[in-house]
Amino acid sequence: MFSRSALRSLAQDLRLTTPSAIPSAPLPQRVFLHQAASLRNAQPQSSTQSSSLNPDTPLSATPQAQDTQPEIQQGFKAPSGNPTTTPNTPADTFIPQTRNHIPIEKQPVPPTFDSPLKVTQSLMSRLPHLVGQTPHYIVAELHARPYLLTEGDHLRLPFLMPKVKPGDVLRFNRATALGSRDFTLKGTPHVDERLFECRVRVTGVESEPLRIKEKTKRRQRHVKKALSKHRYTVMRVMDVKVKTPDELLQEGTQVVEDAEDSPEIETRA
């Protein structure tokens, strides 16, 4: 068993090495974590149990748990009545519990922007070179898989896209690169979706020929046949367009000074 001082030093080490809870999480989620931390009574039972079961809990931890919890617990118990269910939190501090709870930014819905696009001075000055040179290509990402597309390309996705019908027009809004013959706009890691337009039209659903995989076991005449016939969504790229600086300024884009991680247009050597 550890001595208390050794444990404390271990906990401090952990705290030092891991400054934030989830380093890769996006900013709104981080905010949401902090808010949840202030209302931390999601598991009032488990915390009281653990403190009673572990008499060796560090002194630094126990007083915190005891002096903050009782008041908040009552405040939340009164409206809900059932302490085991999670309290009715507002929409921005909603905790996803089941597979159906997917935040809006992970769903294929049109995005809403609350701040205007910020483009650096250097990008704005070099954008006309990229826009002027046709044709363009785009490396669009669908579910984190890249597809290099040009206008008029035929795209057969490796999956069946849900809730789309033939004739629907989709917008691809995640691109890692956009380019022409001599210029490439590289994203960090993604190009902002307001800089370009990439439309595709769903043209139908195709399927592969029936595949039969014969499964055999040793010393047995029985052969199991596993059948598979997957279906794929087929689409056609309608246009790949980079917006001109004039269009960007019309949409209210702000021009800002150069920063470290801003996207840049690279010229081919």
Partner: protein, 94 residues
């Protein structure tokens, strides 16, 4: 109240039985599985036993299974701009 977020990065195959038992006690069954435990000396000792196999972070609360899953879920990268029905009614109106 803070929690250990423990992820099993390497399997305990080929290690002494004690290591396997400690992982079982922590609730770690397969690689990349994540469990949350309240910070306590006993859990810290268990982590020390298998510190070569796991990665540990300290978090404010237990994340749900779906939250852990959503950290890895990529963006869809598309959205429906115009459905075929809307386009047809548009064309008919012209």
């Amino acid at each position: 109240m803070s929690f250990f977020r423990i992820t099993l990065l390497r399997s305990a195959i080929g290690l002494p039985r004690r290591s396997t038992d400690v992982l079982k006690a922590l609730g770690l069954k397969k690689r990349m599985g994540t469990v949350f435990h309240a910070v306590s000396p006993s859990v810290a000792g268990q982590i020390m036993k298998v510190k070569e196999l796991v990665s540990v972070e300290e978090v404010d609360r237990r994340l749900t299974k779906q939250e852990v899953h959503l950290e890895r879920k990529p963006d869809p990268g598309y959205y429906l701009e115009k459905s075929c029905v809307a386009e047809r009614t548009e064309l008919r109106g012209q």
